[in-house]
């Protein structure tokens, strides 16, 4: 049993290599899947049926050659609605994650560099916000706001800001004390350039890894909000609300109404996460 130890010291060759290959394959799979989903949602609707055309003669029709994913209770083609709905979910998920990352990283760097005691106070109030279930928080925000795509993006972004502030601030506290920052300061860089050009790029690694996690999570959150009825309003197609509309037909056996939009969420989030593992991996390799 001493052999594995020896093996490790010579270099963890076979296991590590197998791991890298597997990781690369997963990333590739995730990337291809994600690209395919995005392309299908962008281009697909040009070729598929109109997503809001009702056809009362073909209500709740099972999947067939004419309707690949079947039709819903008023005869709308589910395949077409999944494609169009994807635009909405991808838009909200990705822009929500981006907005929260940009705002969160900016605040995190500022708090880390200038914070002092005020920073501590802000962090404690973030504790308070984070102690609160995100879904209910976003739900409460939307319940009182007008429910447009913009407010949903803002609500999704808002509840995800704290994690980025936390990640960036922690790293900023370390980085601002490193010699290269001091060197940059000594060569007369103004404060804003110091933070923007020298500190920010060096504190973003963990936030990049978090970005994909957040994007996937934001898509799940968007779906959940629609499922509760405060997200995208019908008849606009969106995966979460399609699952909610289809849920009532599950018990009578018309499974396709809810299953296909739900699977779309699962595949999209999974592909984003497979791609995100790359950032996660490089991060742990560095540390």
């Amino acid at each position: 049993m001493a052999v594995p130890t020896l093996d490790v010291q010579l270099g963890p060759a076979p296991e590590a290599r197998r791991r890298t290959r597997w990781r690369a394959r997963r990333e590739l799979l995730g990337g291809v899947l994600f690209a395919a989903i995005v392309l299908a949602c962008l281009i697909g609707p040009l070729f598929a049926d109109a997503p809001n055309t009702t056809n009362l003669a073909a209500r709740l029709a099972a999947p067939s050659g004419a309707h690949w994913f079947g039709t819903d209770d008023i005869g709308r083609d589910i395949f077409a609605r999944v494609l169009v709905g994807g635009r909405m979910d991808l838009l909200i998920g990705i822009s929500g994650a981006l907005v929260s990352a940009i705002v969160g990283c900016t605040l995190g760097v500022l708090l880390g560099a200038w914070g002092g005691r005020a920073g501590e106070v802000v962090m404690r109030s973030l504790d308070v916000i984070q102690a609160f279930p995100l879904l209910v928080f976003a739900f409460a925000l939307l319940a009182f706001l007008s429910r447009s795509v913009l407010t949903i993006v803002l609500a999704v972004a808002f509840v995800n800001i704290p994690i980025f502030i936390r990640l960036t601030r922690t790293e900023t506290l370390v980085v601002v004390q490193l010699p290269f920052v001091e060197a940059a300061r000594c060569s007369g860089n103004p404060r804003w350039r110091l933070l923007l050009r020298h500190v920010l790029p060096n504190v973003m690694t963990s936030s990049l890894a978090q970005l994909t996690t957040t994007a996937g999570f934001a898509i799940i959150l968007t779906g959940g909000l629609s499922f509760l009825g405060v997200g995208i309003q019908p008849p606009t197609a969106e995966w979460g609300s399609m699952v909610a509309e289809g849920a009532q037909y599950l018990e009578s056996g018309q499974w396709w109404t809810a299953v296909f939009p739900g699977l779309a969420i699962v595949l999209t989030v999974m592909s984003i996460q497979l791609v995100g593992d790359r950032f996660q991996a490089t991060e742990t390799d560095r540390g």
Binding site: V128, L250, I265
Partner: protein, 336 residues
């Protein structure tokens, strides 16, 4: 240790005050008018004015905050603008159902997450590793409400193994004395065998949905933690001394547990409100659904009451986690 516990308990007070003040302002800044909601189905201006005075909304916001704070200290969370009943009573009525659901779900999530992590992190890789990866990827990308629907489709619609998703016991369940409000627990307390069985059957699918979804972050953390500990020299030493797999695992888990416990606590704390979608799918009637209704009705006191209760719950859970952490890790104990 005693000093540490006392200090942590003392911190709970300012945190709770902070949460109360923040929730109060956030709910009051929101543009809905609870007086209109409370004035009934046909709110005339006179009725709305009367409702505003009845709810105390005619005073300045700081006076309202002070009145509210005084009430809360006395354990009075105000009364719902819609039902007129005490918010504290309404929440306490619904709390046991949700606690029963999320506690069992957390037990399943932990068993599943840590179990899969132990199996998958075994040194020779292969099919076990694959199972772990697939579970990690699937659990992290499936929304809990969708998984709940899939389980209903499979086990109720197709196979008829479990009953319809109609609340905690369904309409034809044996009636039992209502002690806590959580059917399964009440059935056990009453010692009614058939009621226990009915309650159990209704619990399986929601608990499975939450357990599978929330077991996946636990799996990820557990696996990373186990694998990093397995690489440390002391484990090589234990292995060299001839310890079997199970013997070595005991040593690994001792040091791998703290991060797992922390994460489990965080998830448990969030689940109180976070289980709302699964509660909705199964018509569970717990606090999550209560909160959603309250938001829908712009019911100030009910929303504030829910937030306070959810926050208190997570603060207490974090507190318990810290104590557990100290019990597991002597370094934490000594650092206090």
């Amino acid at each position: 240790m005693a000093r540490y516990i006392a200090f942590r308990l003392l911190v709970v007070v300012p945190v709770m005050v902070g949460i109360m003040v923040v929730t109060f302002f956030v709910t009051h800044v929101l543009p809905a008018d609870p007086a209109v909601e409370a004035a009934g189905a046909y709110p005339t201006p006179a009725l709305v004015r009367a409702a505003r005075i009845r709810l105390g909304l005619n005073h300045s916001i700081f006076v309202q905050l002070w009145t509210y704070a005084k009430q809360v200290v006395q354990g009075n969370l105000g009364s719902s603008a819609v039902t007129g009943r005490s918010v504290a009573t309404e929440i306490v009525d619904r709390l046991p159902s949700t606690l029963e659901l999320i506690t069992l779900s957390m037990v399943v999530a932990c068993t599943l997450g840590v179990g899969v992590a132990i199996i998958a992190s075994r040194r020779g890789r292969g099919i076990r590793d694959g199972v772990g990866k697939v579970y990690g990827a699937f659990g992290a990308s499936v929304p809990d409400y969708f998984l709940a629907l899939l389980l209903i489709l499979l086990f109720y619609t197709a196979l008829h193994v479990f009953p319809a998703p109609l609340g905690q016991a369904g309409p034809t369940a044996p009636t039992i004395t209502d002690r806590s409000g959580a059917y399964f627990l009440d059935a056990i307390l009453a010692g009614n065998g058939s009621a226990v069985w009915v309650g159990f059957q209704h619990l399986v699918l929601p608990v499975a949905a939450l357990g599978i979804v929330f077991g996946s972050p636990i799996y990820r953390v557990a696996r990373a933690s186990i694998e990093s500990i397995e690489r440390s020299p002391y484990i090589d030493y234990v292995t060299m001394m001839g310890g079997g797999r199970r013997f070595v695992l005991g040593y690994v888990m001792q040091n791998a547990l703290p991060p797992i416990v922390t994460l489990t606590g965080i998830i448990y704390g969030l689940l109180l409100g976070g289980a709302v979608l699964v509660e909705t799918v199964f018509g569970w009637g717990g606090v999550g659904q209560y909160a959603v209704q309250a938001v829908d009705n712009a019911d100030y006191y009910a929303i504030q009451g829910f937030v306070l209760m959810a926050a208190l719950f997570s603060v207490l859970v974090y507190f318990a986690v810290d104590l557990l952490h100290a019990a597991l890790d002597p370094r934490v104990r000594r650092a206090m």
